[in-house]
Point group: C3
Chain length 322, copies 3
Amino acid sequence: MADRVLRHILQSQQFDRPFLEIIFRWAGNFKRNMSGTLSWGGSSEERLWDSKQLQGTHMIELFYEASTRTRTSFGMAGLRLGMNLIWTENAKEFSSAIKGETLEDTIRVLCEYGPDAIVLRHYETGSAERAAAVSSVPIINAGDGIGQHPTQALLDLYTIWEKFGTADGLRVVMVGDLLNGRTVRSLAYLLAKYRSIRISFVSPSDLRIGSDITGWLDKKGIVFNEYDTLGWETLGYADVVYCTRIQKERGSDASEETLAKFRIGKQQMEMMKESAILMHPLPRNDEILPEVDSDPRAVYFKQAGNGMYVRMALLLWVLHRI
Amino acid sequence: MADRVLRHILQSQQFDRPFLEIIFRWAGNFKRNMSGTLSWGGSSEERLWDSKQLQGTHMIELFYEASTRTRTSFGMAGLRLGMNLIWTENAKEFSSAIKGETLEDTIRVLCEYGPDAIVLRHYETGSAERAAAVSSVPIINAGDGIGQHPTQALLDLYTIWEKFGTADGLRVVMVGDLLNGRTVRSLAYLLAKYRSIRISFVSPSDLRIGSDITGWLDKKGIVFNEYDTLGWETLGYADVVYCTRIQKERGSDASEETLAKFRIGKQQMEMMKESAILMHPLPRNDEILPEVDSDPRAVYFKQAGNGMYVRMALLLWVLHRI
Amino acid sequence: MADRVLRHILQSQQFDRPFLEIIFRWAGNFKRNMSGTLSWGGSSEERLWDSKQLQGTHMIELFYEASTRTRTSFGMAGLRLGMNLIWTENAKEFSSAIKGETLEDTIRVLCEYGPDAIVLRHYETGSAERAAAVSSVPIINAGDGIGQHPTQALLDLYTIWEKFGTADGLRVVMVGDLLNGRTVRSLAYLLAKYRSIRISFVSPSDLRIGSDITGWLDKKGIVFNEYDTLGWETLGYADVVYCTRIQKERGSDASEETLAKFRIGKQQMEMMKESAILMHPLPRNDEILPEVDSDPRAVYFKQAGNGMYVRMALLLWVLHRI
């Protein structure tokens, strides 16, 4: 085994389009095979899609930051493939971290236990790269500070791909806290791989998209615009409206009046095309009002669910099964 | 599967006596089959009772409030039936809840991962009902604030049923914090389904049983009395003495002098009948003194253990296997 | 099964040399069989060493104190043997402990669920003994306050045994906080079982080894010396240099100047023999500088990894399989 290259998942930039196609086809297959049996109570026979291709392997979910959603999604993906799981819910508070251990040392020790993959969530940008530098097992970045969240970006793009078959030529509107929003950054990097894509960034003026992203888009020749209001000029043409939360816990202090200007309710949905989709990485506060949850264009819960299928496909890739 | 009705477990009132009989018979079967092998070290062959009837299914334990006992009991029940588990120990602190996500959104997302059951512990009364209203998988209420804790009520009643074969005609004394005690409320609802039952409520005057319960009992024609002291007039006639903790963390500020009046030690045990049983939902502080732990009528540890068997039976029902 | 004696693991003193030989041989076998397949991506066929000898059994890891390392090591050991796991990451904060439940009551309840072993980490010295006194299943002490941490001592000694084939005749230098260091105490007890062993204790004067240990060594006729500086007179003759962390969270307030005198860097490594090994129970702060991590004598990460193999062997013993 020792001559196999380690397959880490660290940042969105590492994925090329052929890779994305493979992951999305596998995710789609998993999703189709499970549909109809995913509801409670299916008999064992109906669960053949639980292919257990990773039976006997072990995943450690090392989470230094709260994320029930991401942890559960990876965990369910692993369990459905037959993996054994061990996790820590808040290593920052509980682990040797409070005794001053470096992330590198923690990773080195966990590697000695021979897990097949370590899923890492950490509060510092660049931590996944640091972990990978010392790790003898694959590191999967499940979010590092305001840095990257590449598997979130993959499930976001998969949700678009599932709807439109591609991202080429799409008009994407990104709304909310674009400065601190990890998901927006990762998705923007991925979208830049597609042709004729046009992006509108809509945010309060103090939460505009960072120059690292706009620089990247410029370099890739992607057309984008920035707006400080949310109206017809963006919503009316969008294929994808991607909302993000104004993250109070990361220091944003936008007023209620400001927040209201970037909120999506029935009125905003009326501006959107019939064929558009409304996405959100969740959790939401009130950027999207519950009154639109039943609109078929509101796909954010399905989007979250897609995370499990995409992560199943990624786990197969990381462990050299595809 | 989609045409099957969802079987939630939300409140004690939903159970009728035929249902209780079925659950209790299954719980009893599990318990009998396991006895003798439940001690450590049994060989694999001796573990045939681990019937794995739910192999390949998944349980998510979503706990917003501390309860190692209840979580472990459900977890062991699930594992013994072959279920895969994912849990969160304190979602209130760790999950998206701190980012302001509603319970409803969290449930909707978890449903997308296709678990077969969600066991929910939450600090707000009515939360299990709210979860069930949006859930596409069965919700099992593992305690919601001062509201209900129906599986605790079932294991309590099972413990009575195991001893007496029925609850008809029994004299039950409930002692302690009857105002905030979730377990007392849930059990009282269940007991009201039996004939000729008589209940004595014994509590400090500021922790008396709520009018919702007394109203229910009146409506059901159940005879009950209230007392503010614990003595012969109640203990001497009791078949079941059910103690509860004065819950300091819910705001009770009873003095030590008051607490002492509702405490059970050897002296109080002497007032009880030989055939009586002493129950407690645990954890206890010093409502029951350790000096009575070895009394064969003190069944509170066995009572806690019964929780696993009852929950195994409930899981079979929830997943339409019985 | 009921006539089998309970096999607890409570303190280092309980192990005799024949026992140690058996455990170390089993640990060594596990390690050899896994080598080559422990890296990620091994196929299912290559994982035959996952012997699943404890399939169908259950382990509860009851941790009242933070220790991701120890919990994960036990967990991986159990999973590799086929055990099912349930754990709590911080029972002190989350469980019934905050409602005032005694450890004894918690153990009694968990026993009712029929686990095959309870791995206990607790913040109070003597807690493992208290748990064992009321338990009907084996208790494995995973660290109790400043008391004992016997499985750590076993993996430490195994690491020595793996290198030298025995501990007889070795010169061992122990450095750091010898007063509060649980690992040092447990290892010293074990080393006293070997012949012609010589121990040097090197520590700040306010963190010297306790008289309970020196008394024990005197009684066993073990030669030892105490030093307050770290230099040639100890390092130059050592077969094993065992460093420990100055534990700030246990109240040590050594100055940076003091700490620097007990630090191991390249300069100190140059004083050590080619055949020596440098150990540390981890986590480390800067008692050992990263500059020596690549020195082949620096075995602390392998030492941590040995914990899993030793714990696999211990679990087999505890469950009467060896």
